[in-house]
């Protein structure tokens, strides 16, 4: 079989851009930045995927969805590779995806605010949470954190003090 019959790397990326995240289906796996590499080893297509959180139950589902998509597009010879480093960071979530998250009711991550393990102390000492997250519904920044942990590993629970709605914040790592 001639290699010219194989789909191009760009074509594969465009197909992967149609695979939604199973828990937040408005964004795709490429927009989340978890597809790290697409390449051929001889005629075998290799897709490197990095987990968001190490225990995230969606990881296995994402692998399956990627595999199904590529099979549907006619790729027969493929391998998925788990890549741990560099570890996933919310900085890789694309600008477009951030707008989609907001429209979906999830406040997008604020870059550079990942925890260093001492940020709670800094917040206590300053008497307030230094993070200012805008409510995705009404836009108010008069909001408060209810918990650092939310409905999925990647989110924290927040509440708007103006429109009183609770909302998810896509926390930084």
């Amino acid at each position: 079989m001639s290699t010219t019959l194989l789909p191009t790397i760009d074509e594969v990326w465009s197909w992967l851009a149609e695979v939604p995240d199973p828990e937040i289906p408005v964004v795709s796996v490429t927009e989340l930045g978890i597809v790290r590499d697409v390449r051929y080893e001889d005629e075998m297509l290799v897709v490197a995927v990095t987990p968001t959180y190490s225990g995230c139950p969606a990881t296995a589902v994402i692998d399956l969805m990627i595999e199904n998509k590529l099979r549907e597009m006619g790729v027969a010879d493929m391998r998925l590779e788990r890549r741990l480093s560099p570890p996933w960071t919310t900085d890789w979530v694309t600008k477009v995806a951030r707008e989609k998250l907001k429209a979906f009711g999830i406040a997008p991550p604020i870059d550079g605010t990942a925890s260093d393990g001492m940020s709670a102390k800094a917040a206590r000492l300053s008497g307030q949470n230094s993070l200012s997250v805008a409510c995705p519904r009404c836009g108010s920044i008069h909001t408060e954190r209810i918990s650092q942990f939310g409905s999925t590993p990647c989110k924290a629970a927040w509440r708007c003090k103006d429109c009183l709605e609770p909302f998810d914040y896509f926390k930084c790592i």
Binding site: R36, P51, S54, S115, K121, F149
Partner: protein
């Protein structure tokens, strides 16, 4: 993305993974890391559906999930290193009590919220230092990449645990009393984190792991800061320490965890779904 390729190549060519002389000690050491996160993850998961408020229930379940994720990476690497066909599941579900290498601190019953959160804090403060060292200094790129991944999550665990220790310690008379009791109950189990044996020394000599005695100073100073802020009295760091977990000598509590965790694989060997 050339920089990603380089990282992948470095990781694939880990010289420590092929050092046959180091292998037995390296395997033991990886089991210690994986068993600590497995058993603490299991203990923490016992709160699922029983948390005092919904947000705490969810936070504890998320923490447990992260720890089980770390277990899959550490025990997965241990199995790969051993090269005898055991994966993370086999190691978690088919070893008996004496083969577990977790420290005693993590197997103690979850107790009340004070015991649960004080243990999280004492362990997280150590875990955070250990992973920080491993991610930037370990001579094994495979170990360093797992540590870097886990560190991001453990940073949030330490944030939350520190915050709650301060809030409950410096809270009501009742919450203060419970936190001080929890601290005194757990304190004699913290010494094991820093007590190096032959395995720790071999790994430290090979540059894979830190000198545990070295971590102790930073841990004590971080712990003291938070405990003082929480108006709690830190017990004597040089006091008595319960030892043995890292070598497989456990308290009576571990067997009960395994009886529950391993039941399915024991009753229906090889069952999968």
């Amino acid at each position: 993305m050339p920089e990603v390729e380089t990282t992948a190549d470095v990781v694939a060519n880990d010289p420590i993974m092929t050092d046959a002389a180091l292998r037995p000690a390296f395997f033991e050491w990886l089991c210690r890391l994986g068993d600590n996160t497995l058993i603490l993850g299991h203990r923490t998961s016992e709160w699922c559906g029983h948390g005092p408020v919904l947000e705490e229930d969810i936070a504890l379940a998320n923490t447990a999930l992260d720890l089980i994720g770390h277990t899959q990476m550490w025990l997965g690497l241990a199995g790969e290193l051993e090269g005898e066909g055991r994966d993370a599941d086999t190691l978690a579900y088919l070893r008996d009590v004496m083969k577990f290498r977790n420290i005693l601190l993590v197997e103690l019953p979850k107790g009340d919220m004070a015991v649960t959160m004080m243990r999280e804090f004492l362990f997280d403060a150590y875990h955070h230092l250990l992973l920080t060292w491993l991610s930037s200094n370990s001579s094994s790129p495979r170990v360093a990449e797992i540590a870097a991944k886990a560190l991001k999550e453990v940073s949030y665990h330490l944030d939350r645990a520190s915050d709650i220790v301060v809030r409950l310690g410096d809270g009501t008379a009742e919450s203060h009393r419970r936190m001080q009791d929890a601290l005194e109950l757990l304190w004699p189990y913290t010494g094991e984190m820093f007590k190096a044996d032959e395995v720790d020394e071999r790994l430290s000599d090979a540059g894979v792991a830190p000198d545990l005695a070295h971590l102790r100073g930073a841990w004590e100073s971080n712990a003291r800061d938070i405990l003082e802020e929480a108006t709690l009295t830190m017990p004597d760091p040089a006091g008595y320490a319960h030892l043995g977990g890292k070598q497989g000598r456990h308290t009576e509590h571990l067997g009960f965890i395994l009886a529950e965790m391993q039941f399915l694989q024991r009753a229906y060997p090889g069952a999968s779904w």
